[in-house]
């Protein structure tokens, strides 16, 4: 039991910034007075019983529950995905009071204070490689995020108040996660998508910080929200060096809260924390590096990729499971191999037969095997092995290993169109953004695209935010389908554009496209002018360029979901029930880097010094003039001139002589004017002939 106090300097806590905390008075001293802390006595024995009985909802927590899960998945390019999924849920505070047992209080307060209906915050480093790691399954659709920070939130407040709540939320999150999320407070950084992002009614805000560097100081506060932190359970695997050595790293936090009035089962606050890392098993490094001969996938185990084992479950978790996911490409390939070898009958995908077959070996016997059911076409489907960590402990840690015996080559299922975005043009004045969509092989066999008015169409949504200093001309939108220019009305079903306002709001473009089904490629280009920024608006290292946040491409006519045969175990597993939810296929494009004109930053200092010098000179002479007594000086001068007439007259006579000499020369120089021009022409001719001969001999 503990009492925590924290100091807040956000604008919501300081009356809009009027009553700021002055940190110069630190250290602060806090005194608690006038309340007594009474601890509820817990019956130890009943408590322990509940912990030991797995799967039962913890009544002690007042309906709160927590579960932890880890999904591992081998990728075709010799890497391994590890996806941690922690879910906590708390009933609404109005029905159960304000005390929480498992649920993080900071989050509950945040939800209550800012009336957050739904929120997602992600910290990502590296890029998700859609071509190699797939983009169709729910895992990549939900967890592949743009680099940097992405935050969106839906508020349960009137529209006029949404901006205020958003600003306060960014400040709070910034404090919670030690990140510069508070930069999203400025209206130039966030936008309010309406068409494509999510169905919303004006109370959704979306903002990204592409340049935010993500590191362990963001992970630690995120781990603090877990009841076991990283001391026990699956999160004990999170060895910082091995996580940050990975090729992709994304930590995500998603909040959903529902109205307290509704009497649904999942009313209250749901907190979903995921950490997705793509790691390279270390055996790759020691082996032969040239991939020509060594097609065999690297064998790995949890201890080899993380350097740690799972020391049993987090005792207060409702469930603690580890899954091994073999995606449908791999399973199909394995089936083919088996058919070729004719060792097994085609349908031997039973838990016993498959976990130690001729292609690979799993070191632990799985407790459960889930097979994806594909009702539409009898294609190969993915397989998930479930392992329960409950029976493992410190003395007998859980370590899952996968050993490959024969080389297998497969590819992940990709999104129907592969999106890439790039810059066109050169120079510092203008340019163009192009988004190109190219069909992948996987889209051909999918009959899910909509058929409207007898025409087969593929719906694609594009959501693009552009900062204000990239002044996009939306009327220059050009559309090419299959390399043929098309009229905009043919392809674009709906478009919503909100042009940027200088230093006030970013430009937002949302498009709903209807592409013909068989189209192989589509491209869009938008021209823009590069704007100028005020000297103090430049970020550090401005010469590197400015980031344009990723565009979000979604395919609403495709659903990234997996169907499993009905099983009561599935309902207990948040990660699998998440996979079964219907969500559109999403993919993000790359972040673009636009070089803008940047001043030489030593310039302001030069300007300051020069103006200071000029001012000093000016004031000096002005002061001189003001203090001068003109009459008196003239008198002194005259008297001095009378005395030193000889020297001055000498100088004057010399000067006049020079002047007299010039009028004598002037007529001579002006007379042969035509002669001089002739000489000039001669000179030019000479230079030109030299240049020509030079070009002839050396050019």
């Amino acid at each position: 039991m503990q009492i925590e106090a924290s100091l807040w300097n956000a604008s919501w806590a300081t009356d809009g910034g009027r009553m700021q905390i002055s940190l110069s008075y630190a250290p602060f001293e806090a005194r608690y007075r006038g309340f007594d802390v009474a601890r509820c006595s817990v019956d130890k024995s009943s408590d322990m019983n509940q912990f030991s009985s797995s799967g039962s909802v913890l009544k002690q927590g007042g309906g709160e529950e927590f579960s932890e899960e880890l999904l591992l998945k081998p990728f075709p390019d010799r890497k391994v995905l590890a996806h941690f999924h922690f879910q906590s849920r708390a009933p609404h505070s109005s029905s159960h009071g304000r005390h929480h047992h498992l649920f993080p209080k900071a989050i509950a307060q945040l939800v209550k204070k800012f009336r957050v209906k739904e929120m997602e915050l992600s910290f990502t480093q590296g890029r998700w490689r859609y071509e190699q790691w797939g983009g169709f399954d729910p895992l990549s659709s939900n967890n592949a995020k743009p680099p940097g920070v992405e935050l969106w939130a839906v508020f349960d407040v009137p529209q006029s108040l949404v901006d205020v709540y958003w600003r306060n939320l960014t400040h709070t999150l910034s404090g919670l996660f030690c990140a510069s999320i508070n930069f999203l407070e400025s209206s130039t950084t966030y936008s309010a998508p309406e068409l494509t992002f999510k169905p919303s009614f004006g109370n959704l805000r979306y903002g990204t910080l592409p340049r935010e560097a993500v590191c362990t100081e963001n992970l630690t506060p995120w781990l603090k929200l877990l009841p076991c932190r990283d001391k026990a359970g699956l999160s004990a695997l999170m060895d910082r060096p091995s996580i940050y050595r990975g090729f992709y790293h994304s930590q995500r936090l998603r909040l959903t809260s529902s109205e307290s009035g509704s009497d649904e089962v999942d009313s209250g606050i749901g907190l979903e924390q995921t950490l997705t890392v793509v790691l390279q098993p270390s055996s790759w490094r020691t082996g032969k590096t040239y991939s020509v001969e060594t097609n065999i996938q690297p064998s790995w185990s949890i201890s080899s990729i993380f350097g740690r084992n799972i020391p049993g479950k987090c005792v207060i978790a409702k469930s603690s499971n580890v899954y091994l996911h073999l995606d449908n490409g791999l399973v199909g390939e394995l089936k083919n191999l088996e058919r070729e070898n004719a060792k097994y009958v085609a349908n031997t995908f039973e838990s016993e037969g498959f976990q130690s077959n001729h292609a690979f070996k799993i070191s632990v016997t799985p407790d459960k095997v889930f097979e994806e059911v594909d009702y539409l076409h009898g294609k190969s489907t993915s397989v998930i092995y479930g392992f329960s960590v409950e029976k493992y402990s410190d003395s007998q840690p859980f370590d899952l290993g996968l050993t490959w015996k024969i080389p297998v080559v497969w590819s992940c299922q990709q999104a129907p169109l592969h999106a890439s975005r790039f810059l066109m043009g050169s120079g510092n004045e203008r340019g163009a953004i192009a988004i190109s969509l190219e069909s992948t092989e996987s889209s051909e066999g999918l009959p899910t695209s909509h058929i409207i008015d007898g025409r087969c169409e593929l719906r694609v949504d594009i959501f693009q935010v552009v900062p204000w200093y990239i002044k996009v001309y939306f009327h220059t939108l050009q559309v090419f389908v299959d390399k043929q220019p098309r009229a905009m009305a043919d392809v674009v079903d709906k478009i919503r554009v909100s042009p940027s306002k200088d230093k006030v709001s970013p430009g937002v473009m949302e498009m709903i496209l209807k592409l013909p089904c068989g189209s192989k490629s589509a491209a869009f280009s938008l021209e823009f002018d590069k704007g100028f920024l005020h000297i103090d608006e430049y970020p550090p290292d401005a010469n590197q360029g400015f980031d344009i946040p990723s565009a979000l491409i979604s395919f609403p006519s495709f659903n990234a979901r997996m169907n499993f045969s009905e099983d009561e175990f599935l309902n207990n597993s948040p990660i699998l029930s998440k996979f079964q939810e219907t969500s559109p296929v999403l993919s993000y494009t790359e972040v673009l880097l636009i070089p803008l004109t940047t001043p030489d930053f030593s310039m302001p200092y030069n300007v300051i010094t020069i103006t200071c010098t000029v001012f000093a000179l000016y004031f000096g002479s002005l002061l001189n003039v003001l203090r001068r007594r003109v009459d008196e000086e003239e008198r002194i001068l005259r008297s001095r001139a009378g005395r030193k007439a000889g020297w001055i007259s000498q100088l004057l006579s010399r000067l006049s002589a020079k002047l007299r000499g010039r009028p004598q020369e002037q007529p001579t120089s002006s007379l042969p004017y035509s002669f001089i021009s002739f000489r000039l022409v001669l000179k030019i001719l000479l230079v030109a002939s030299i240049a020509v001969t030079w070009q002839y001999y050396f050019g």
């Binding site: 590296g126 890029r127 020509v292 810059l423 050169s426 192009a434 190109s436 000067l655």
Partner: protein, 428 residues
């Protein structure tokens, strides 16, 4: 007259001074000119070494040298390419296939780029050569085409916003040992870079088909990279050009693959050296005398000299090196510097005569090339897109026919790798 006399008397000194200067304009201009020339001659004396923070380059981070394995692989590539030259028929397409195969074996994404060369790019008076210059000539050269091979390594932890370009000109028809060697170096560097984890930027390796000159393929690739043609009418990459019929060839796309914004570019070349040391030549002047960010040259110079122990030779006028009067001038400056030092030991003005001659030759060559306005290598194409680029030319003592010598030379790839590492870090 009396009235003018009075006005003369009232004139302010600055006006009087101006009048004085104007009246002696010939003398003044002669004095200014001589002062300018003298200043120019004095420049090598006053030149100071640029300070580069050691921390900015993170010493030791990019120190990994090439292993024998990479060298042997590079040797294999060189041998295969050299064998092709014995039968010139079909050597072009096959060499592209071989290079592409080696690239993709390293795990890079490979594509071919087909272009029509635009000859006669340079006119000294053609300012601001933009990407749209010379488009009109395209029709006449439609039958001629060259194929560049491009490989891209994605930085493992980077976000792919930026890229560094590595260019090796290669002529598949007439390319000698020299060009295959530069390919070998680039290959060994590339293979090392596929395995390192500290890359912050993507690496693009462009094997430029230099049958139509070294500049044209690079310029064409840059143009297509930056202003792609979306519509069918004016794109030439859609033409079916499957000359090679082996299986691998057909897998390589002709569409341009992209990485992020280019941050810097290095052109690698090998020259037959006739000096008694292994040297590294740096060429930097682009069209119209534009220069890249001098930091790039400084880093390369610094890393090459201090870290890799190479002798760096920025391009020079060789006739100046042997000229008598420059030498004597250098001696004069040397003695002057010594005299100054006796007056005050804190004044460090003197440099040795040899250094002076070298500096003067470099300065003269740079002045000359900037005044001429013709780029000194394919790096000039990058300058049009505000990309810093230089050409590095390695030259060796002995000919490359002996294998051990070649291996030794390929190990130099490690030094370039060190250079590249420094550059990627510097641009981070």
């Amino acid at each position: 007259m009396a009235e003018t006399e009075v006005s003369k008397k009232r004139k302010r000194p600055i006006v009087r001074l101006a009048v004085l200067l104007l009246s002696h304009s010939v003398l003044v201009s002669v004095i200014c000119c001589t002062a300018g020339v003298f200043g120019l001659l004095l420049l090598p004396v006053l030149a100071k070494n640029t300070y580069i923070s050691e921390n900015a380059l993170m010493p030791g981070s990019a120190s990994s040298m090439l292993s024998n394995q990479e060298v042997s692989e590079a040797n294999k590539l060189i041998k295969e390419l050299n064998n092709l030259h014995s039968n010139p028929l079909g050597a072009t397409t096959e060499s592209h296939g071989i290079i592409a195969k080696y690239m993709s074996n390293l795990g890079a994404q490979v594509n071919n780029h087909k272009f029509h060369p635009q000859l006669n790019q340079f006119h000294p008076l053609h300012f601001f050569s933009g990407p749209d210059s010379g488009v009109m000539q395209e029709n006449s050269t439609r039958s001629l085409y060259g194929i560049n091979t491009v490989g891209i390594i994605r930085a493992p932890r980077g976000d792919g916003k930026e890229a560094i370009v590595l260019v090796t000109p290669y002529n598949a028809v007439k390319g000698g040992v020299r060009e295959t060697l530069s390919l070998g170096i680039a290959y060994s560097v590339f293979s090392l870079l596929t395995r390192v984890t500290w890359l912050a930027k993507d690496i693009i390796w462009l094997v430029a088909d230099s049958q139509y000159g070294e500049y044209a393929p690079v310029a064409a690739w840059l143009r297509d990279y930056h202003t792609p043609a979306f519509s069918n009418l004016d794109s030439l990459n859609t033409e079916t050009c499957h000359v090679g019929n082996n299986n691998f060839e057909s897998k390589i796309s002709y569409g341009i693959r992209r990485s992020g914004t280019m941050a810097a570019a290095l052109v690698l070349g090998v020259a037959y050296g006739n000096e008694n040391e292994d040297t590294l030549g740096i060429y930097a002047e682009a069209s119209n005398g534009q220069m890249p960010n001098l930091d790039l040259i400084n880093i390369v110079h610094y890393l090459a000299v201090h870290r890799q122990g190479l002798r760096v030779k920025v391009e020079q006028f060789h006739w100046l090196l042997n000229s008598k009067w420059v030498k004597s001038l250098g001696e004069v400056f040397e003695s002057l510097g010594k005299m100054v030092k006796t007056l005050n030991p804190d004044w460090k003005l003197g440099i040795s005569a040899a250094d002076y001659v070298e500096g003067a030759a470099t300065l003269a060559s740079s002045l000359y090339h900037q005044a001429l306005g013709v780029p000194t290598g394919p790096h000039g194409a990058f300058r049009d897109y505000q990309v810093d680029a230089i050409t590095l030319e390695f030259s060796l003592r002995i000919s490359f026919d002996r294998l051990d010598r070649r291996n030794d030379f390929l190990l130099h790839g490690g030094r370039i790798n060190g250079l590249l590492g420094g550059i990627t870090l510097f641009h981070f």
